[in-house]
Subunit: 164 residues, 3 copies
């Protein structure tokens, strides 16, 4: 047991692939369940999760990750040259989504909803919005917009700040 309680957690979410969206959302909901104040700062590809309908459209890439077995987690890897063929990204995504569902793990849209119901605050990174031509109207209405200084100000007194 830790000698002190977890009071404040700040997470930077920089990745937008389906598998990469799980760790920040699972840590956020876990921390909120422990009673901590949680802020998530979505930057670069992570901002896709905050777009209207975006959490539903995340994909899994089967290319360039030899640590990843087949998308259903059976142990035979697929050569990159096959994974790179047109249509393989949606196939890998569909297989992983089915595996997640069969395992009883929450979907990304459900985790997003759950996090916000638990009081987790969502922030979009304003320089990223500028770079990717994203307007505030493109984001889910519960997301605020802050810059890097806003994020660092939140992190200054957090017990745990992670870049994910």
């Amino acid at each position: 047991m830790a000698e002190k309680d977890l009071k404040k957690v700040v997470l930077v979410v920089s990745k937008g692939n389906l598998d990469e969206a799980y760790p920040p959302l699972m840590i956020a909901t876990g921390a909120a369940a422990m009673g901590a104040e949680v802020d998530m700062f979505f930057t670069f590809y992570g901002i896709d999760i905050l777009k209207k309908g975006g959490a539903d459209k995340l994909q899994l890439s089967p290319v360039g990750n030899p640590a990843m077995p087949k998308p259903d987690f059976s142990p035979v890897p697929i050569p990159n040259i096959v994974s790179a063929l047109p249509g393989m990204t949606p196939i890998a995504t569909a297989m992983m989504k089915k595996k997640i569902k069969d395992t009883g793990i929450m979907s990304i849209p459900d985790l997003v909803k759950s996090a916000q119901e638990m009081g987790v605050r969502f922030w979009a990174c304003t320089p990223t919005m500028k770079l990717m031509n994203i307007e505030e109207a493109d984001l889910i209405p519960t997301a605020g917009c802050i810059g890097v200084v806003g994020f660092l100000d939140m992190a200054a007194d957090a017990d745990v700040t992670l870049f994910i």
Copy 2:
């Protein structure tokens, strides 16, 4: 010099490629050598390192990383279309392992052994085990199993917590 001693470090290990396994293990052994208490939480692809025989089988992907020169670190990059051919991942892995050995840097299995001899604690992420059909018997016997709340409880009073 820091004004205070490093007492506790918690590391999340989320990647399972050969090159990506080095930073967490080198930080863990460095922190343990400084007398800090160290906990490593292996999640997603990082859990491969905890599988029996897994640390020996990590691979290096030559695809999708233009920052990576040839696997022997000579400066001429290989086009992705060549890197993606069947057989290129094991070739890149073998070349990098040879380079590491020639440089006198420890192998991943030796770093794992060394970390545990220095008292670093290893934890497998239970939701990842469920998702990837991994049983406790598939893991090295010195690894414990905890969930996200267990990890956050350890992180609450750590001096440094990193998501790697």
Copy 3:
């Protein structure tokens, strides 16, 4: 507002692709602008940013990242098999650089210069230098060289330490 000021930030820079170099440099300059002491520890592929002329040569990979739209951030993704063709990495890099310039965001070499003018300290990871055959003379002259223990000693009393 945070209840305490941000006094010290330590960033591990482990990635060397063009897009991946932005988050650490934007966080570093943001923290320095807030009056914090900032140290950046460049390790693995991140060390490319510290090489003489290296910040100018970072590339963007269009392969293996389905979260990434076309390099100009228009919403139609390119299949991996096309992205993997010879010449696609420089094309993607040039398109992203143009987009960055058009948006009025600083280039990586300008951010590096700006960070150092603001007092951000740069450190190259000595085990990485050994592995990649990099000599101190290959690095920009304002970079120091330290090992993992040196980094952890800096992190011990930092308010925020991130592995990026």
